[in-house]
Amino acid sequence: MPIQSFDVVVVGAGIAGLTAAAMARQQGFDTALVATGPGRFIYGAGWFSADGNKDMDPEALEKAIGLFRQMTDEADCAFAGNLREPQLLPTLMGDFLPVTLAPFTLWNAAPSAGARIAMVGIEGLTGFDENFMAERMQAAASGLGISCVYKARRINISRDLGLPLTPTRLANCFDNDAAFRAELAASLSAVAGDCDRILLPSVLGFQSSGTQLAQFIAAVGTQVGELATLPPSVAAMRVQNRLEHHLRNQGVEFYRGFPVRRLLIENRRCTGLEIDGPGHGTTLHAQRLILAAGSANGALLGTAEFQTDEALHPVTSNGALVANNVTLATTTAAAQHCSLAPLLAGFLAGSRMERTEESYAA
């Protein structure tokens, strides 16, 4: 089996790229994923907002969400939510945003009538203030006619995790140290009081699986929800890490950290790409290519002015086909922030893969 030849090469490790790669692998294709950073998902809280849904085809979106939920279930970073019932989730400004899909710890932060919610801050934690959030969310909830009560609480961490204490350091400790997880669970339990839910800034690990989180919440003894913080978003990175790890376990070959120097296209057919790296770079051969590199797609195609045909192949502004085996994971709708658009784009691109005689997979 050739080492640097693939049935499908995906460029981009954002939601679009990860989704397309998962679909390619699922269909049995020998798949590689080439990317520099993790894409823009990690700049947001880790959810998909409902803004912009109306501009997307509901049937396709439904399927894309179905696939994504399956993918994240397999990767043990399950998401909650569906198209029909967006939930209001708190932003880092303490107001609410309608969200379609979110990892279940973020989903748990939704307000509900009659709920008594402990808003828990951590002594010394920078970039988060539980009083601010409680005050804002109380006002926002009242404004929406939701009768829930937020009570600000604060816990102490005994470990010296350096100053300032940041969500990143807490998350790292959560990943590394079982004793810390136990201590945190106990502290949260202690301040829960008569509240039926606890909200805290997103610190529950960069690597934790859904199973581990469920165990943690069980140890606390009260429902726990995570809140969005300043970047780096722990919850979003957690999803990113788990999805990437899952894809690697499924056999997707990752080429990480170096940009694509150029696509190899001849006679309207892409034969592969060159990755820029130290030294002479690396050439990958590909039967099919999916471009999911967001704003970098244009540079790779050599033109910012491109469109796609019905098969999602790139087409120049004059209508000339660029390559018949390149599929673009791109959205025509103006991408709202944290929207489902990249997920849909990745899904649509991933569904276009056709099996041919030349497949390398056994």
Partner: protein
């Protein structure tokens, strides 16, 4: 390729580098690559005195560079800052030696049996711990008579390769070096060992940029001759490979007369695994493997990942019948060459490696295979397993045939 001037401006403060940094993960006071790299660099350009309290805790693993969405040369900026760091006398003397493994190697291989004996004596190690702050628990690699002469003959029409062995092979495991040559000869190459010196990675890591520069110039001189004749350079130590491919870590950036030679070197260096996987894809790999039942776990060294060439050895070994191989995918081992030997860094080194050790225990392989010599040292120190270089595995498969 990573032009530092532009790169400072490419930083968007997203902090992804911090989440990728193994030291940041385990050391609470470590400010992280984002701060030590682009943020302090902006201050340095302003001419403000910047302290370098924590720069020497950087592993030099390039994890930050690889994680950065915008190709910021973070570790290069930190390496330059390391050069300005003022050390305490004990550490300064110790690190002076650590920066010069070739010198150390030449001295310790005069009478290797004596050197090995002395370095294994407990009282000597305790003394070294006190006088030089070298952790007493670490096992020094044995030194051997450097002998990289191949014991076999290449084929008549063999393609010529120049082997850059690196200090670890030259002075500690010359048998591995001879095995590399044999493996390449079995695949139709003829191999000449270049009279090269240390690649300079330990010098950079220990803040001795001037020495790194002198090694770079020396090596470039030796290798240029071969390159002009059209030969390719091969390495099997990932760190040496990264250095040769990256213009020796950029230390000769300000010498434009070297630029062309550096470019030629970068373009014509191959990791042995990289070379053989290209051969494999072209159908030219020697696949006379015998059934070799072996449960292996593979660990990708940081300096392999920073070359962006994928996991060639992982795939190559997977082709050997009987071999089952899993990728441990557990990040940095924590050793980083000389780093893990240092008393003040030992704890950090082991804390970083603990994830890998745990993953190894869960995987329960017979052996762990990895290209990097110090990764092997760390794995043998932190687990009860033996390690093996991928070249040895492949040779085993040929030899049994």
């Amino acid at each position: 390729m990573r032009h530092e001037q532009e790169n400072l401006d490419a930083c968007l403060k997203c902090s992804v580098c911090n989440t990728a940094c193994p030291v940041y993960r385990v050391m609470p006071q470590y400010p992280g690559p984002k701060y030590l790299g682009p943020e302090l660099e902006r201050m340095r350009r302003e001419g403000i005195p910047t302290d370098t309290r924590y720069v020497e805790y950087c592993l030099g693993c390039h994890g930050c560079d690889v994680a950065c969405p915008n190709q910021v040369a973070v570790s290069e900026m930190i390496a330059e800052a390391k050069a300005t760091h003022h050390k305490q006398p004990i550490e300064a003397l110790r690190d002076w030696w650590f920066a010069r493994p070739a010198l150390l190697g030449r001295l310790l291989t005069i009478v290797p049996s004596v050197s090995n004996l002395v370095l294994s004596l407990k009282p000597v190690r305790l003394l070294m711990a006190v006088m030089m702050r070298i952790n007493a628990k670490r096992v020094f690699p044995a030194y051997r008579n450097p002998d990289l002469k191949s014991k076999t003959e290449p084929k008549a029409d063999a393609q010529h390769l120049i082997f850059f062995p690196g200090c670890s092979i030259r002075y500690n495991t010359p048998d591995l070096g001879r095995d590399v040559i044999r493996l390449l000869e079995l695949n139709g190459y003829s191999v000449e060992v270049a009279e090269t010196d240390c690649c300079g990675v330990p010098a950079l890591a220990n803040g001795d940029i001037e020495y790194a520069r002198s090694r770079a110039r020396l090596n470039l001189d030796v290798l240029s001759r071969y390159l002009r004749a059209g030969a390719k350079v091969v390495t099997t130590c990932s760190s040496c490979g990264h250095m040769l491919k990256s213009g020796f870590g950029g230390v000769l950036e300000n010498e434009p007369d070297k630029a062309e030679a550096l470019r030629m070197l970068a373009e014509n260096t191959r990791d042995v695994g990289e070379l053989l996987s290209e051969q494999s894809d072209a159908g030219k790999l020697n696949t006379n493997f015998a059934e070799t039942p072996l449960k292996l776990a593979y660990h990708a060294p940081c300096h392999l990942r920073s070359q962006g060439i994928g996991r060639p050895w992982y795939h190559l070994l997977g082709q050997i019948p009987g071999v089952s191989i899993t990728d441990l995918d557990a990040g940095c081992c924590g050793m980083s060459g000389t780093y893990g030997f240092k008393e003040e860094k030992y704890g950090i080194s082991m804390a970083i490696g603990s994830t890998l050790f745990k993953r190894i225990a869960e995987t329960a392989p017979q052996m762990v295979t990895t290209e990097c010599a110090t990764c092997r040292m760390q794995i043998e120190h932190g687990t009860t397993l033996t390690t093996i270089h991928p070249v040895e595995v492949m040779l085993k498969a040929y030899d049994r045939h």
